[in-house]
Symmetry: C2
Subunit: 269 residues, 2 copies
């Protein structure tokens, strides 16, 4: 536990299944035994370490036993979490594996990029922290709190503010606001409260375009050209019948400043 460093990847292995990938949020700290352990932890020491880990389930679960041929030679000689026959080692709670084995497991689970997973988990954690901060901030009145929280989902006051700057989806041409999401250009989680409600910090986008923009698979140049991430599967664009040479039109000066942030910190390079 004490050897784990923030950002380290941790595989969850239970009932013969590797089902989730975790990323350590920080180093382990001293802590008392959790009540949830109940009678199962009766013989364990009262104190130990607490390690905060953000987990995400794999879309594809993985049964190491089915891959034991590939995995076998990469298992650690000592303290291996998996036995030579592919079953788990019940005596171990947390143990180290090599980078090579880790990369193989990620590949089997269909994870293309560990840094993407890290970024997504970090984003979720930042969002939760920011919401907590807004909720408990005694300087912010109840109406503004509601507006700030609704803005995260692209709703309420923020959407109304964006609708005063934008006419419709710059990619598909839909103008009826009922079918559009208000996307933050500089993400809600990394914006300050003024930027979270700023109508210039948003586009009205069709939900699929919003999804790609939010995840950083696409962005725009200052003159409106569509940018496609090298990590984006372009066949998706044709399935969605979006032309890759679409021009999004011209932006306000403020929108361009936010777009600079998006290209630098959100767009997947």
């Amino acid at each position: 536990m004490t050897q784990v460093r923030p950002g380290d990847a941790i595989f969850s292995f239970a009932n013969g299944t590797i089902g989730a990938l975790g990323v350590a949020a920080d180093r382990a700290t001293d802590a008392r035994k959790p009540k949830e352990f109940g009678s199962a932890g009766r013989n364990w020491a009262k104190t130990g370490w607490l390690l905060r880990v953000n987990f995400t389930e794999f879309a594809r679960e993985m049964h190491p036993k089915s891959y034991i041929v590939e995995i076998g030679t990469l298992l650690p000689k000592k303290y291996s979490p998996i036995q030579a026959n592919g079953n788990g080692n019940q005596k171990l709670y947390l143990s180290e594996i090599s980078e090579q084995l880790g990369m193989l497991l990620l590949q089997i689970a269909g994870v293309e990029s560990l840094s993407d997973v890290r970024q997504d988990l970090e984003h979720d954690a930042e969002t939760a922290t920011a919401e907590e901060e807004i909720t408990t901030d005694r300087q912010i009145g109840p109406t503004e709190k509601m507006q700030l929280i609704a803005a995260r989902r692209g709703q309420g006051k923020f959407k109304a503010n964006v609708a005063r700057v934008e006419r419709g989806c710059r990619v598909t041409g839909v103008t009826d606001i009922r079918y559009l999401r208000a996307s933050h250009i500089k993400p809600w989680s990394r914006a300050n409260n003024r930027e979270r409600l700023d109508g210039h910090n948003g586009f009205l986008l069709s939900p699929h375009v919003d999804y790609l923009f939010d995840k950083g698979y696409i962005s725009f140049t200052d003159d409106g050209s569509l940018l496609l991430s090298p990590r984006f599967d372009k066949t998706v664009l044709s399935s969605w019948q979006i032309r890759d040479n679409v021009n999004a039109g011209s932006f306000t000066r403020k929108q361009k400043r936010y777009l600079g942030f998006h290209r630098k910190f959100v767009f997947k390079t």
Copy 2:
């Protein structure tokens, strides 16, 4: 305050602007003066009524002064919230307007259906209540709590479960799970905890298809035909290049049961 009934529509009017539409969540209850009133409420009684109202901002703000010709004749003779010159009446906190004036205001604000707004607000309130219940339920372990909360956003264990039943988006054909959302067929807010994680209670849908399905603008017949709500603007389908005669394929018996719920309670008729 005591005359308000659950479901009543309430317009928020401040600074010359009607900016939000509220729906009363229940009847008023006795309550103490809120601390937030501060010195502004110094001369008010210590006790009064608390009325829970769920508000949503209008996408288009409305300035009654600009519409005073249309509104003027419909204003109440007594206790009117708006004066004959279009300015507000500062002496009033909450007052009644006629159904006719209410409908006109909704029309000006671009609200097509009050019952849709009611349904959306009720859905949001139910979701918040259900999340609170899960979070505070001492019978549910931390892992399952995480899975249930993530399921609301179509993520984690639920998405993995759906991916074991579904191959890809039944409308656009995209199969790469990174570009798809896991949509609940019977909505998360109205499902029980087993149904919230049931892989048969979901489709993998492209984000724009997910949006239409989630809002009840589209549904499917048991044999896979696309159903379009009469309240859906079909030009959006052509902007998104989705054919209205697309067939979604065949469903499992369990999916059909959930679909029955979707057609009955989510699909906008």
